[in-house]
Amino acid sequence: MKQILFLGLFFISFTANSHNPEKLVISEIERGQLNFENETIAAEYSAALKRQRIRRLSAMSWSKKIYIFIKAGFEHIIPQGLDHILFVLGLFFSTLKLRSLILQVTAFTFAHSITLALAALGFVKLQLSVVEPLIFLSIVWVAFENTFFKKTTKWRPLVVFTFGLLHGLGFATLLTQYGLPKDNFISLLLAFNVGVEFGQFAVLLVAFILIRLIYLKTEYKNQLKIPASILIGCTGLFWFIESLI
């Protein structure tokens, strides 16, 4: 019962428990009433969440961490990255030639890996609010090219490369918000990137298989090129406008 009485006392005047009331009494007088600003509290909470995630990751085995980051990269494409899926499909419908497709996808991959790494390492910094509309515009442009240009230009890989730089920044803003543990920084960054490539590859594979199933012959892909591209372009345009509002 003494304990309850003690607790009661502790409750009524908080200074009754063991801490340094010297500082407490003063800071109470200095700070006055706590004021609750929901925005501040929410910001503090999400910063704390990020710290917690990093601690949790740090406590995991290396292979578990790698697995998680590959999975995170993959999921960033499927199912969460509809914008990236559309972009990759835009590339898919642009050409009949496997070689050209591989060239474009490689340029894209190469580019977004560069910016992802640079941004994650803190060398480049861009707001998501700037990067995101530009990513949507890149979808629109690829679709536009597919629809109105008879043949893919020789500049196409360069254009795709530039767009890839943008998409990399998109991946990075999210990855840094999420937080990378310092001790395995490079390997986890790579793991995330590998996951992204898997996701991208899976999109292409599924698209390829579907087309084969529907038409059995790859040449028919061309008949789909324009309607599909228009659809992709309109969606991109819609997102772009939405992101500006």
């Binding site: 003494k2 309850i4 428990n17 706590l34 704390a48 995630r53 960033h76």
Partner: protein
């Protein structure tokens, strides 16, 4: 928007927590907690759950008391005292969660509940402690204690339980009881008023300066003052008032605003003005003057002590403490006073020498202290705070304190991620003993945030008891260290690191405790003793051997250099004359107020404080740490006749640590084991002085403290 999905997706992946098995339709306090180690299911507890749980908890508690009273068997230790230990489980369950969260992770609803609950709970505990039938049973056991064959621990529990009743007035007649109740309510009103006046007085003065008045101030201080002025402008209601703050700089008697100004400003006239506004708070002969309130409270306290059968209020309070009488306290304070004052006078001489060398033609005054002591500090004790922080990342310091207790007692700590805490910054560790057995859960909540009270403290979510099986505690440390910026680690000051060790010392007291009866567990001991386990642990953080084991640079990994450690330890002796003198003066003032006989308390002179300070020879250059009119600890907090506790605990911890020094090993295995067995495990199962003597082999002496604080003549 879409992007947010990704983030939440990742969170889910990593955090996939075990879902609690509670029934969402039933108040979580009414269910058994099946969480690991019975950690409260924080995520299931909603604001609305508290009040019904408190009400039911109080009801159940009273019903349990009723059952004890109704027992027709003769009162025995087992059927009364031990049964009392078992009462109030639900109330304690909800109260522990509530009082912790209302301080460390609060919201407007909890604050409101706190105001609502406070009178309800004090009425509830009054019902128990003023219950005559219950007291009669306790008294009967007490009277037959010789023949009851009780263990030492049981005897102490019986004594403590009875004392609770007696000190609440159980032995008084009805008219005396009524008087006590009246006095208590008057005292509580006065103490609230004292606090409100103090707040008004602290906020009531501001030093509004022009750009031309800022001589000596650093950019940081100037911008804070300018920020304060623009805040005032925002709050101003009229144009005239706005004009008053336009392009101005504001300083106030709040310590955070005043100390930087007193330290840096070269304008002596302005330092004097601001300093005086601080020391005159509550003493301005206006409607928020606290002189009369203090005198009235002293009188009421003396009156209450008389009714209770004590000569003075201090006698009444100290009976519960380790030092039992006012004489013992005075004796300690006066012993320390002389060397402290001597050192303070030497510090004045040092500062005067600096002023003279600058060609200044004045005698150092109280408002010059910060400015000139800073010059002495730079000259003699120069230590760059910023150079130390990189070695003290929070994770390093936590590792340091874990290593220390591992070396002392073989404890191990493992962070647990599959239990939900009340906030993502409140980390959970399992503490295991050297044989691997479970000891406790430790929660460390270190960063400051806007829904947390200021300060640092230790508390618990679950107590320890061996009464009905082995129950191990859940202990929490809450601090207010700066949160990290971005992805950088949180870097602590050395003072922060000391605070962390201090609170962890309390936590150890709560974690190592191993007693039968929960009410005597952990930190339940007297106030002038419970700071021993915490302050004692602080000594290890200052040991070069310990510092080097954890203080590595967060970027380079380099160990803290010896030269820096040396500077750091030397800096600890800076200004100790001042610090101790102002503290001891306030402690003596507190004692003087509360050793008044009722007769003297009825005729308190206006010069009470002056007389009291003249008697001990306090010099003009120093004011007591708190003057009477703003001594909130004793007139509005719970520290009357208790402000001396800190230095008493400091005497104990320095003397106790000296034992390790004498052994030549700060981790001496035999001493560590004895420290654990005699102090940290024992709670309040024995008289505090006995516990101490069991460890040290003798009563404490003050010399080690004088040495630690450089008051032994070594700094002169």
């Amino acid at each position: 928007m879409k992007k947010l999905i990704l983030i939440s997706g990742l969170i889910l992946m990593v955090s996939c927590q075990e879902k609690s098995k509670l029934d969402p339709n039933i108040n979580p306090f009414f269910q058994d907690w099946t969480t690991p180690y019975e950690v409260p299911p924080f995520m299931d507890i909603k604001n609305e759950d508290y009040m019904p749980a408190f009400k039911k908890g109080m009801e159940e508690n009273l019903a349990e008391i009723e059952t004890i009273i109704k027992n027709t068997d003769d009162p025995t230790f087992a059927n009364t005292i031990e049964e009392l230990e078992r009462t109030g489980k639900l109330l304690s369950k909800v109260q522990r969660v509530f009082s912790n969260l209302a301080s460390s992770n609060t919201n407007p609803k909890l604050q409101e509940l706190q105001r609502e609950l406070s009178p309800m709970l004090s009425a509830h505990y009054d019902k128990i402690v003023l219950n005559e039938d219950l007291f009669n049973r306790v008294e009967e056991i007490w009277n037959n204690r010789e023949s009851a064959n009780l263990s030492k621990e049981q005897q102490k529990l019986l004594k403590d339980t009875r004392k609770q009743f007696v000190r609440s007035g159980a032995l008084l007649n009805d008219s005396q009881k009524k008087q006590i109740t009246e006095i208590n309510s008057k005292i509580s009103e006065l103490s609230t008023e004292f606090g409100q006046n103090l707040l008004a007085e602290t906020n009531g003065f501001e030093l509004i300066l022009n750009k031309s008045d800022l001589d000596g101030l650093s950019d940081a201080v100037i911008s804070a003052a300018s920020e304060a002025a623009s805040q005032k402008m925002d709050q101003a209601e009229s144009e005239d008032e706005k004009e008053k703050y336009k392009d101005k700089y504001v300083f106030t008697p709040h310590r955070t605003s005043m100390y930087p100004f007193l330290t840096e400003s070269t304008r002596r006239d302005l330092r004097e003005k601001l300093y005086n506004s601080y020391v005159m708070r509550g003493d301005n002969a206006n409607e928020t003057d606290n002189n009369d309130i203090a005198a009235q409270m002293a009188k009421l306290r003396a009156e209450r002590a008389n009714i209770m059968g004590y000569k003075t209020h201090a006698d009444f309070i100290l009976e519960e403490n380790m030092l039992k009488t006012p004489d013992e306290v005075y004796d300690l304070l006066i012993q320390l006073w002389k060397p402290a004052l001597k050192r303070a006078k030497a510090e004045v001489a040092d500062m005067q020498a600096v002023a003279d060398s600058e060609g200044k033609d004045f005698k150092i005054a109280a408002w010059d202290w910060w400015h000139y002591s800073e010059k002495v500090r730079k000259d003699k004790y120069d230590l760059d705070e910023a150079a130390i922080r990189p070695y003290l990342s929070l994770d390093n310091v936590i590792q340091g304190v874990f290593n220390t207790t591992n070396k002392l007692w073989g404890l191990n700590f493992k962070e647990i991620f599959d239990i939900d805490s009340y906030h993502p910054d409140a980390r959970i560790w399992e503490v295991t003993d050297k044989d691997g057995s479970h000891l406790a859960i430790f929660i460390g909540d270190y960063f400051t945030r806007s829904n947390k009270r200021g300060g640092a403290w230790m508390s618990s979510f679950k107590g320890q008891s061996n009464l009905d099986g082995r129950e191990r505690p859940i202990v929490v440390n809450v601090c207010n260290f700066p949160a990290p910026v971005g992805d950088n680690p949180s870097l602590l000051s050395f003072e922060n690191a000391v605070t962390l060790f201090h609170e962890f010392g309390h936590a150890m007291h709560g974690i190592l405790t191993d007693v039968t009866y929960g009410s005597m567990a952990g930190t339940s001991g007297p106030r002038d003793f419970i700071e021993l386990p915490s302050q004692l642990l602080e000594h290890w953080v200052s040991e070069p051997e310990v510092l080097k084991s954890f203080a590595t640079h967060y970027e380079t990994g380099e160990t803290i250099p010896d030269e820096l450690i040396e500077k750091l330890l030397k800096a600890g002796k800076f200004n100790q004359g001042f610090i101790n003198t102002e503290y001891l003066a306030a402690s003596l003032l507190d004692m003087d107020w509360h050793t008044l006989s009722l007769q003297d308390a009825k005729n308190i002179s206006n010069n009470f404080e002056n007389n009291s300070m003249n008697k001990i020879g306090l010099i003009d250059e120093i004011a007591p740490r708190y003057r009477s009119t703003y001594f909130a600890h004793i007139f509005s907090g719970g520290y009357s006749s208790g402000y001396y506790s800190y230095v008493h605990a400091a005497v104990l911890d320095s003397d106790a640590f000296e034992a390790f020094k004498e052994a030549g090993d700060v981790f001496d295995p035999e001493l560590s084991a004895s420290l654990r067995k005699n102090i940290y495990e024992k709670g309040s199962t024995e008289e505090a002085m006995d516990l101490y003597v069991n460890f040290r082999g003798r009563k404490p002496i003050i010399e080690p403290l004088l040495k630690v604080r450089g008051l032994d003549g070594s700094s002169d």
